[in-house]
């Protein structure tokens, strides 16, 4: 480009979807706005390409906004742009019920998601994070699954609260306020927990499977592919990577990552709904990203590498996961499934890290980062990482199996429309992105990783876990009974299932009681309390005494005596 575009242009471009959202709210512009939805993310995509690195300070916006447009932000902006565009296309192809309503919320979340990629100060980031996360409720609950909506909202609200608290600490540090060791650690902990919820970290993932399953496909794709990645971006932006204060957290974070990676795989395999399997796969994959970040925290010098790894992995996973969600829906809409299943296999193997896919590159970068993990972690991760790939392979196998063997299209009316050109185009876009992105990644680090992934050593490293996984999958399939025994043993909400059930029950009871309780009648005002009025009556009796002439005159006489006595004394 000839002119240098200032950094704030990125933010402005990212906020274009707000116009669509506003348009959807106004009756006059509703229809036009809904059609514009598919173009809403394009300005942001363009900005990701055209706006060079740079910073802009926008003092008047919020409490002062800092746009620091850098490689990381650009990567996430591009990722989000692609995924939201694809999702919007798919939504246009297969509009959910009340499409204007859906589009409005969709555009709002989109704006938040895109904008948060551009800003680097905590207040603005939080603003756009909320603008993304809260409207997403409408998307999750769009098809009427109140339980999932409740779960999503509960986790989101708690996450937002934790986040704002964590950001207070970050913001205070930015003000130059001395934090002290305790508060600093608390701040890091809060950030980890808050973003942990968004990325479905182990123990904080309760909302993810139910929400992914409940949301309309376009929304699920956006959620899984882009919105949850905002959590990763947040961690990258605000964790004190490369500094001493984060070191203590490294081990914990890595441990959580490992736990999520395995937990997601094991529980995911037992699921019976493809979307839920994808959700657990996300949990597992985010576990891997978490491991990288943990390694970066633990060893300050590794942080930059960890950032690259997380970014690359996030892009890779986002695209793949979005493609899987849309593909799943397309498969469900067709009676001839095999083309869809084959198409789905591409992102599936990519996730497993097959050679020549983005997955291979991503895993390589990840390995590079974790390879520098301190102490025993280095060895442990060396062993564990390939095992997770086996798990991923199993999960993907399970997913493809479920998609392929699903009986008829789901409940009539919801996915009744057969996939058209638009929907297929959306999917193709994503598949293309999965295939190509890392190959055209405009950074030296990426190019180096790509080339390295093509070496024999790494090819083998990428291949064997997949092979092992396939064998395991076939074995399990062959065993048959085992699958049947474990499938569905764990509900989608896993450890949170009882809590969600309780909450659902409570909500239902409340609704019922409200329906059955008549409006409160005007409460009659109570007469003055008995005790009070009795005392007052007593006061009246005394007063009659005072008014009696004899008493009064005696009182006058007594007062005379008293004063005369005082006089006599004085």
């Amino acid at each position: 480009m000839v002119t240098i575009l200032p950094a704030w242009m990125a933010l402005a471009a990212a906020l274009v979807p707000l116009l669509v959202a506003a348009g959807c709210a106004l009756p006059a512009t509703r229809d036009v706005a809904r059609r514009m939805l598919v173009f809403a993310a394009l300005p942001a995509l363009a900005a990701a390409v055209l706006v060079p690195d740079g910073t802009s300070q926008i003092d008047w916006l919020f409490v002062g906004t800092l746009v620091d447009f850098d490689a990381t932000g650009r990567a996430f902006l591009a990722l989000s742009g692609v995924i939201w565009t694809a999702a919007a296309l798919y939504a246009a192809a297969h509009p959910p019920q009340r499409p204007t309503w859906f589009s409005g919320w969709f555009a709002l979340a989109m704006a938040g998601n895109l904008a948060l990629c551009c800003v680097t100060d905590p207040a603005s980031f939080y603003t756009f994070f909320a603008m993304m996360a809260l409207p997403a409720y409408a998307l999750v609950a769009h098809e009427g699954d109140r339980s999932a909506g409740r779960a999503y909202m509960a986790f989101t609200v708690v996450g937002e609260a934790l986040l704002v608290c964590g950001f207070f600490v970050v913001g205070a540090a930015a003000f130059g306020i001395e934090l002290g060791p305790v508060l600093g650690s608390v701040g890091i902990g809060l950030l980890l927990a808050a973003f942990g919820i968004k990325i479905g970290a182990f123990g904080l993932h309760g909302w993810m499977p139910v929400s992914y399953a409940a949301a309309p496909t376009a929304a699920a794709a956006a959620l899984a592919g882009s919105m949850s990645k905002a959590g990763v971006l947040g961690l990258l932006r605000f964790l004190p990577g490369g500094e001493r204060e984060g070191v203590a957290f490294g081990a914990v974070v890595m441990a959580f990552g490992v736990a999520a990676a395995f937990y997601g795989a094991i529980v995911g395999v037992m699921q019976t709904k493809p979307k839920v399997v994808l959700a657990y796969s996300s949990i597992s994959q985010f576990g891997l990203i978490t491991i990288a970040l943990g390694a970066g925290l633990a060893e300050p010098v590794v942080w930059l590498l960890a950032v690259t790894a997380a970014t690359v992995y996030a892009v890779h996973h986002g695209l793949a996961k979005a493609a899987l969600f849309i593909g799943e829906d397309i498969a469900a809409r067709t009676t001839r499934r095999w083309p869809a299943v084959v198409g789905l296999a591409l992102p599936a193997v990519a996730l497993a890290g097959a050679p020549l896919t983005s997955g291979a590159v991503a895993k390589l970068v990840l390995k590079e980062a974790t390879g520098l993990a301190p102490g025993a972690w280095h060895g442990a991760l060396e062993t564990l990482l390939p095992v997770t790939a086996v798990g991923t392979t199993l999960l993907m196998a399970r997913f493809l199996y479920l998609v392929a063997t699903r009986k008829a299209p789901d409940a009539p009316g919801t996915r009744a429309t057969a996939p058209g050109m638009l929907g297929a185009g959306s999917w193709m876009l994503l598949l293309a992105a999965v295939t190509a992105t890392l190959w055209v990644w405009p950074s030296a680090d990426a190019r180096y990783a790509v080339e390295k992934s093509l070496t024999a050593h790494y090819l083998w490293l990428a291949v064997w876990p997949i092979l092992l996984g396939c064998i395991a999958a076939v074995a399990v399939w062959a065993a048959g009974t085992m699958t049947r025994r474990f499938a569905g043993a764990i509900p989608p909400a896993d450890m949170y299932a009882p809590v969600l059930r309780l909450a659902d029950g409570a909500a239902e009871r409340r609704d019922r009681s409200v329906r059955e309780t008549p409006a409160p009648q005007a409460v009659p005002t109570p007469v003055a309390g008995r005790a009070g009025s009795a005392l007052l009556d007593r006061a009246g009796v005394f007063e009659i005494g005072f008014l009696a002439w004899a008493t009064a005159a005696s009182a006058a006489g007594a007062l005379t005596v008293l004063l005369l006595l005082l006089a006599a004394r004085g």
């Binding site: 004899a550 005159a553 005696s554 006489g557 005379t560 005596v561 005369l564 006595l565 006089a567 006599a568």
Partner: protein, 239 residues
């Protein structure tokens, strides 16, 4: 009048006795402590008697030195009269003959006594200048004459119009006030008698006060009296 219990309960009486005994004792202690030698204002009065316009010290105090007290005192009288009139049944001071058929003896006596009493009243008024006496004493005798006449069925209120009655009641106070204000207009202070006119002015004031006091006393008596109608009724209709 009325069937009211004559005495209070014993407890009240005992308490009252105790209190009164206390008051009495402490009062006695106080009065016994009055210094015997305090000259008071007597010397001051003596010193100023010459310029007061009268020779009687008490009259000088009443009409000149503390004439303001007297002015207010007349106001009290007028006020009480108005108050009594406001409470009387007819509220005008007119009355039916109190004794419907006047006793002939009383009537004759009254006829004889009234002029004498008026004469005495005049004397008292004049004597007040140098000896005990003055408007109040004179007015009282005048009032008594009026009461006597009323009781013996002579005077009927019709002899005075309502306005005249009101005028008689208030004339003393009004003249007193007018004198006082006149003194102010003449360049003095309130009730500051010019030395040369003091005696004359005081006599004028005293004269009208006598008239008023007489009228007031008569009015007080008459206004409080029950109409003859009611008297008859209350005496059991025996008459």
């Amino acid at each position: 009048m009325g069937k009211v219990t004559a005495k209070s309960p014993i407890a009240v009486r005992v308490a009252a006795l105790a209190i009164c005994a206390g008051v009495g004792a402490l009062l006695a202690r106080a009065v016994l402590a009055i210094p015997e030698t305090e000259p008071g204002l007597a010397p001051l009065v003596d010193a100023n008697l010459a310029v007061s316009g009268v020779k009687n010290a008490v009259t000088a105090v009443l009409l000149n030195f503390r004439g303001y007290d007297t002015l207010l005192e007349i106001a009290v009288l007028v006020l009480a009269t108005i108050g009594v009139l406001s409470l009387s049944v007819t509220q005008t001071g007119t009355w039916d003959p109190i004794a419907a058929q006047a006793d002939p003896v009383l009537s004759a006596l009254a006829r004889f006594l009234a002029p004498v009493m008026i004469l005495v009243s005049g004397y008292l008024l004049w004597a007040g200048e140098h000896a005990p006496g003055g408007a109040f004493q004179a007015g009282s005798v005048l009032g008594a004459a009026g009461v006597l006449l009323a009781l013996s069925g002579y005077a009927r209120p019709i002899w005075v119009s309502r306005f005249a009655l009101r005028a008689a009641i208030s004339v003393g106070f009004v003249v007193f006030l007018a004198t006082a204000i006149g003194e102010m207009l003449a360049g003095g202070l309130l009730l500051e008698y010019p030395a040369d006119l003091a005696k004359t002015l005081m006599l004028v004031v005293e004269t009208w006060l006598t008239v008023s006091i007489g009228a007031i006393l008569i009015s007080l008596f008459i206004a409080s009296a029950s109409p003859a109608e009611e008297l008859r009724r209350r005496s059991g209709g025996g008459e």
